[in-house]
């Protein structure tokens, strides 16, 4: 009986460890960039997406979509804004903030080209 009890405890421990490892692996926590502040990200990521949206709107108002050399930057900004919104929805704050940053930069570039073109 002593041997049987030990086997049960060992199996239980192994199960616990396996389930823990599985949950940890599937959570993707270990793949998160360590440099990103996930606590502050709760606030900064949505703000970054909003800023990118505003920048895209400004670029459109400046008429960037009508200037050939700015069209790529406008399109890039829009594509990355969609990505940022999707990542924000999926709670991948680091990816959302990064995509929003690219979108904002592209939109600002498009706006600058549009303003130079006028």
């Amino acid at each position: 009986m002593r041997t049987g009890g030990w086997a049960v405890r060992r199996s239980f421990a192994l199960t616990l460890i396996s389930v823990g490892a599985l949950l940890w692996g599937c959570s993707g926590v270990h793949l998160r960039p360590e440099s990103y502040d996930w606590v502050t990200g709760e606030r900064t990521a949505p703000a970054a997406v909003s800023a990118a949206k505003a920048a895209v709107a400004e670029a459109e108002i400046a008429g960037a979509a009508r200037i050939a050399s700015a069209r790529y930057h406008v399109a890039r900004a829009k594509e990355y804004l969609i990505l940022a919104e999707r990542e924000l929805f999926e709670r991948d704050l680091a990816a959302a903030e990064m995509a929003a940053g690219i979108a904002r930069k592209a939109a600002e570039e498009a706006k600058a080209i549009a303003q130079r073109g006028k």
């Binding site: 009986m1 199996s11 399109a75």
Partner: protein, 275 residues
């Protein structure tokens, strides 16, 4: 007497281990501590864990060739002036590739990038190919500054200034950490010399560029060496040195985005700008 009999009945299976085991063999509880069942269970758990790890690694690795080929296709499209010829399609393909790469390297068995993104990316790249095929060079508008054969950095497109109008001079690409001219680049250089000789009033800026590896300072020096190497070749071929200005941007103005050889090979270059 009766209680003593009961006591005896209760204690019997406990005191005789052999009897308990024989009960389990006849269909007792699975968690009754049978060594054989326990060992099988443990082995199954270990196998499942190892299989999961292998599957996870294989999932990520299996996308690598596809991602690499998409990166190469994107770089080639960019070199062919896709930013100007198919801006929307190029941007969509670029963003999709970034998304695909991000998702594929994130092991999440419940969100398989194969099912979610691959189709979207393939459609984006197909649209880019179609648009590029349907938009011949002659239709490029005047303000689209990127010529089909001469890649230009993103910033050149962004600047769009008069001195950076379409350059008929071809870019020269270099090997990693080298400033010597590759033999396969000689043909392009000869054509550039030819063009400069037939346009004796044209002055040029030779820009030296590098890939992202190494420090900023080192790459500035390497870019300078690359630009200087091309200048020396042009001067030796009979082009007046006064027509040439040299500048190094190091790794600051990459032509192709990406963090592997498929992007780096496009970024180790000398670019010619007409003044």
């Amino acid at each position: 007497m009766r209680s003593a009999e009961n006591k005896h009945k209760v204690s019997r299976p406990i005191s005789t281990t052999g009897h308990a085991l024989s009960l389990s063999k006849r269909g007792g509880s699975k968690m009754d501590g049978s060594p054989k069942t326990g060992r099988v269970f443990q082995l199954a758990l270990i196998c499942a864990s190892v299989a999961l790890m292998i599957a996870g690694c294989a999932t990520t690795a299996s996308y690598r060739p596809e991602i690499d080929s998409m990166k190469a296709a994107l770089a080639e499209a960019k070199a062919a002036g896709a930013e100007a010829r198919a801006p929307e399609e190029f941007a969509a393909a670029e963003a999709c590739l970034d998304w695909f790469t991000h998702e594929a390297t994130e092991f999440n068995p419940f969100a398989d990038p194969d099912a979610r993104i691959r189709g979207k990316c393939q459609a984006a790249f197909a649209a880019l190919r179609d648009k590029m095929a349907a938009a011949p060079v002659a239709r490029i508008p005047a303000e689209a500054v990127s010529p089909p054969v001469t890649p230009q950095p993103e910033t050149a497109l962004a600047r769009g200034t008069a001195e950076e109008r379409a350059s008929p001079l071809k870019d020269i690409f270099f090997d990693f950490d080298k400033s010597s001219i590759r033999t396969d680049m000689k043909k392009s250089l000869v054509e550039n010399v030819q063009w400069l000789k037939t346009n004796p009033t044209a002055s040029i800026i030779i820009e030296g560029h590098c890939d992202e590896r190494g420090t900023g300072e080192y790459n500035l020096a390497l870019g300078q060496r690359r630009a200087k190497s091309i200048t020396n070749y042009l001067v030796a071929a009979g082009i007046n040195a006064k027509r040439i200005k040299v500048i190094s941007y190091g790794k600051e103005r990459p032509f192709a985005t990406g963090h592997d050889e498929s992007a780096w090979k496009w970024n180790r270059r000398v670019h010619f700008v007409l003044q």
